[in-house]
Amino acid sequence: MGTEFVQLSLVPMVIASLAAVACALAGNFLVLRRQALVGDAISHVVLPGIVGAFLVTGTVSSWPMLIGAGLAALLAVALIETIRRLGRVEPGAAMAVTFTSMFAAGVLVLEQTDTSSVHLDVEHALYGNVESLIWIAADGWGSIVDPAALADLPPELARMALVCGVLAVATAVFWRPLKIATFDEPFAASLGLPVGAISIGLVAAAAVAAVAAFDAVGSIIVIAMFICPPGAARLMTDRLARQVAWSVVFAVVSALAGYVLAGYGPLWLGYESSVSAAGMIATVSGLILALAALAGPRRRRVAAPATGA
């Protein structure tokens, strides 16, 4: 646990945890509102957005890509609504049509353009590269208070911390309206709450979390963290505040345990190379969900019949 750990593992673990928490915060409300697959759709359309930004600017810099991804998410939401209304297609199918088409277009353009010189490919988009976010300038735990070394931290860390902080503050500030609109939208509307704006705001927050996390850790973590920690937390308690707290704990545990298992697990088993951290984090979150589904105190539906297992 010395210099090498701080250089190679500390920053990826922190970034993965922040990304997981940011997604899980938004995910709690998405799961409760039965919009869990919005995260899936958003993380697919991020790819064409990033490719588009690359085509326009010609460089792989972060801000244009974040903006491109955000625009693509907006376009996707608009397209889903258009297809749903104009074509009178059910929402699930409209979503499937939109995100697969946009993803296909993104892949096609990506393969057509010469991006071999830059780090941009489909695999990267799907499962990111947390492991590469290393902190070369660090030379031990002391570097955490060393301004010179801190200046060399990967920029993803500050960005992810910012997004995670904004989402946490927003969740706290809008707690009551969010809660009421999530559980009883007609009642919220009768109180005069802007339910439409709350709904759009939530999807926008999810998009921000997805885009920032995507940039750092790839889309598979994003989808898993939107759903698994909040889903597992939902099986632990009936109270929203506790559910959010549980989901944050589950998200951090998934990120840390997943990263450690991916990086060090194979070594313990006697193999030389590590496995994909993003995949392992998703796997651990799935194991947590499976445990909660098997043994969580509130795993059953309240109205579920008493028969069966």
Binding site: A93, A96, M280, A293
Partner: protein, 404 residues
């Protein structure tokens, strides 16, 4: 490029490419028709979970085959593995949605991401296996017909043909369940068994499609053709066969383009051809398309303006609305100075008479359905019999005769 494309479309670019193209179109037919039942059952996104859940099966099958001494690239083995793990994913979705309080969409998302994540872990394990020569397993993500072995193409074509045949056989009970599950149950059909058969077919199509379209995008081939066909017909059978045709065309053209330009992954091209068909249908389908709706609205608007203009003429009121003036002028009902032509006077009188008759009908039979048919456009004589009309006319106020 164009020569190669033409050659590929005419199945002239070699035996393997032609077989792959035929396999892709058969796959498209099977996916389109099987997807129709998913679409009608409103369970389209289950197939997304199913498709992503194939990845760990592919990885485990590869590892198992290498450990057993094979080279791990046998398509049959990989597809068997993917079918097993997809089935496991399906069971997991079903179990989470039934046995816990999580809704089905959360179950779908959870299974999709976790299975896929575990699959990625396995792929990185395979990359580091010394004996695991790069197997091109990444091809399963986005599909590739380039470099496909003859035996692979044959396997895909035969399985797809088998799926299509099965669909044709099971079409009646599946249609009944998809359309009205309760009626089907009352008719003695086991809804659970039919649902299982639908999911089984979707699973089969997904597995067959892995090599050609890839697991990220196979859901598109299941959903888009069905949505496309829905624009053209109101009949379940029509959607079924229409989706098959749309899927077949997408697979055929997509695979042909991909054969002409081998650098491109096949999946995205097939999907974009399907999307193009969808967009065309959304815009131009005769009854449900956007253009048809716009035209319908425009015709209605013109009829309203014509009628209101005629009534204004009959009552001697001035007309200011430009569209109304344009409509009347185009039909030769008014002159340029906005005075009615003889023909215009005739139509205006007719319109006024009709309006008066409607007033009487609505007063007389206010409670009946007929009064609700008043929209200011429908001539009354198209709804009433001549003697009913005469009864209405008897109540019209007649102009008093001068000097009587």
């Amino acid at each position: 490029m164009w020569n190669e494309l033409t050659a590929a479309l005419l199945l002239q670019s070699g035996y393997n490419a032609s077989l792959a193209t035929l396999g892709a179109s058969l796959l498209g037919v099977a996916a389109g028709s099987a997807g129709t039942f998913l679409f009608l059952r409103k369970r389209t996104l289950v197939s997304d979970a199913l498709a992503h859940a194939t990845l760990p099966g592919v990885g485990l099958a590869f590892i198992a085959m290498v450990l057993l001494g094979g080279d791990g690239r046998s398509l049959t083995g990989l597809l068997l593995g993917s079918a097993l793990s997809a089935a496991l994913g399906l069971v997991a979705v079903d179990w989470l949605a039934r046995r816990t309080r999580l809704p089905e969409d959360a179950a779908i998302g959870a299974v999709l991401s976790v299975f896929f994540g575990f699959g990625i872990v396995l792929l990185t394990v395979i990359q580091s296996m010394s004996s695991g020569r790069q197997a091109g397993l990444e091809g399963f993500l986005l599909g590739a017909t380039a470099g496909m072995l003859l035996s692979d193409a044959t396997l895909i074509a035969i399985s797809a043909a088998f799926a299509v045949a099965l669909l044709a056989l099971l079409r009646r009970p599946m249609t009944m369940v998809a359309f009205d599950a309760e009626f089907a149950a009352a008719s003695g059909i086991s809804v659970r068994a039919v649902d299982l058969a639908i999911m089984g077919l979707v699973l089969g199509v997904t597995v067959i499609g892995l090599k050609i379209v890839g697991l990220v995008l196979i859901v598109a081939l299941l959903v888009i053709p069905a949505v496309t066909a829905r624009f053209w017909t109101e009949r379940t059978d029509g959607v079924l066969w229409g989706a098959g045709v749309a899927g077949g065309i997408s697979g055929y053209i997509g695979a042909a383009i991909s054969a002409a330009a081998p650098g491109l992954p096949t999946g995205p091209i097939v999907v974009l051809v399907a999307t193009a068909l969808f967009a065309f249908s959304l815009l131009f389908a005769p009854a449900r398309g956007v253009l048809a709706a716009v035209l319908r609205h425009r015709r209605f608007q013109l009829r309203v303006h014509r009628r209101q203009g005629l009534l204004a003429l009959a009552r001697g009121e001035p007309i200011h609305d430009q569209l109304t003036l344009a409509v009347l002028r185009r039909e030769g009902l008014i002159r340029r100075d906005r005075v009615a032509t003889p023909e215009g006077q005739a139509h205006a009188g007719k319109a006024l008479l009709d309006e008066r008759r409607w007033e009487i009908v609505r007063a007389l039979w206010a409670d009946e359905a007929l009064a609700g048919r008043y929209d200011g456009l429908t001539p009354l004589e198209t709804l009433l019999t001549p003697d009913e009309l005469a009864a209405v006319d008897a109540r019209l106020e007649r102009p008093a005769l001068v000097g009587a």
